[in-house]
Symmetry: C2
């Protein structure tokens, strides 16, 4: 068995950002600075870190980031009002609501308040459906990152059997539908699946999106499987038992420096796309 | 091997319609007659038959049916304008656009013109996403019929492995997501799946939605599988080789009198639901 290909997310993200630089330069020459508004509600340290990382990534590339930090006692109505103002602001091209939000907030209602034209994180129901039907402007960023990594490394999707573990509205479900639209046969497993190991036995491509540290075991994998780990658990641990899976996989994403950086690159790309669309209207 | 249970769609449809009768009576006493508008574009004989069947089913139950028949040369703009008028008509509660529509029409644009509040056939992108997230008022009728048949016969879904063959926006995709939301593990196969037989080997529940007459072979099934045939091909033939599958299945829908009548019953139910919602607003 040869060593598996390490799917280097940092490298994929750099390639995406390199393309964006020229586009941002062109936009600037036309007087447009792409701007992503990030909304953080409360003071969860992990969420604060994610928002800061996204803001810094914007800054490094010449994308403006408008950071809005709301008190943890914010109501759904207050949050929706803030989102409405950002929808109406012609200088804001993309809106990211960092989740999870505090319990008193109706997260779905807040997501739905985001204009489809600024939904660069792909969280609205309409954006989900457009993605499911194959014509979304802004697919959810992590699913888009997973597809981008496969494409960057020219790993075929069509005709392959992909097994997705997880069914969340912004990860498991959309990535399943994107793989399906790319002609994979797709199996979706989740917390109520009794025999995940059995389901993985014949998988060509494994997408771990379950939110359980080191859940995917090495002996579950088919020899030569391609493994993408979208999990991020405390302590920089993915959903895949990386060392155990390394032996049998033909290609695998590490954690960190796998899906994570590409997810941020997709968010930046969508923000630039949104600013570019402004020119055409 | 005992004989398989024949999943009698006519019986399920009658049970649904029996419940609707009382609800329609109540609505009438409040001065509301549920009304479904059906739009047929062109003169495809099969489509004419389907629209007539739906209209007649409405009439038998005391639901008004407003039949609109447009010339086969109708443009997207003209069709969208007709739909806009129906959206604005307070006496119309549900809108069904019979598909397929003639080639010159942008079917997706026409579907999207239907108000989410009148999308009783579950064809809009927003309706699709709401269904995918588990809170749609009106899931697509055939997927809803499949779930209704399973529920009527008390066939468990949670924890089972369901294999769906087909990935259309109004059948394969939504029924996959509905089964997923009911805690099935779901595999979606399609025309580019090379080894459908292999995929079916472990299926507890098989949903045939592929549009190929007698595609599903008896020897492909696991012994004791539950088989639902959503196919309707010329000559009243389903997607399942019924006689061949009868031997090994534990339960199976016939064609005709399987999924078909329940699909119509769901359309009627959604129309009554839409009229009922009017009372609450």
């Amino acid at each position: 068995m040869t060593n598996p290909l390490i799917l280097d997310g940092t490298r994929v993200a750099e390639a995406i950002k390199e393309e964006l630089k020229a586009r941002i330069h062109t936009l600037e020459s036309q007087g447009i600075v792409p701007c992503l508004a990030t909304i953080l509600v409360g003071d969860d340290p992990a969420s604060e870190t994610y928002v800061r990382m996204k803001g810094n990534a914007c800054k490094r590339l010449g994308i403006e980031s408008k950071r809005i930090h709301l008190d943890k006692s914010t109501s759904t109505e207050q949050l929706v009002e803030v989102i409405a103002q950002l929808n109406a602001d012609p200088l804001v091209h993309g809106i990211l609501l960092q989740h999870p939000v505090p319990h008193q907030i109706d997260e779905r209602a807040a997501f739905e308040a985001i204009s489809i034209h600024k939904d660069v994180d792909g969280v609205t129901a309409l954006g989900f459906a457009q993605n499911a039907f194959g014509y979304a402007d802004y697919p959810s960023c992590t699913p888009a990152a997973i597809i981008a990594i496969l494409d960057y490394y020219q790993i075929p999707i069509a005709g392959k059997h992909a097994v997705v573990i997880g069914r969340s509205p912004i990860l498991g479900k959309p990535v399943s539908l994107m793989l399906l639209n790319r002609d994979a046969t797709v199996t979706i497993c989740h917390s109520k699946t009794e025999n995940v190991a059995e389901m993985l036995k014949h998988a060509d491509i494994v997408i771990a999106a379950v939110g359980k540290p080191k859940f995917i075991q090495g002996e579950w994998l088919r020899k030569g499987a391609v493994v993408l780990d979208a999990g991020y658990n405390p302590g920089n641990v993915g959903d895949v038992d990386y060392d155990a899976c390394l032996a049998g996989a033909s290609a695998i994403t590490p954690v960190p420096a796998g899906v994570g950086p590409v997810t941020i690159a997709m968010l930046l790309k969508h923000t630039v796309d949104a600013a570019t669309r402004l020119l055409r209207h």
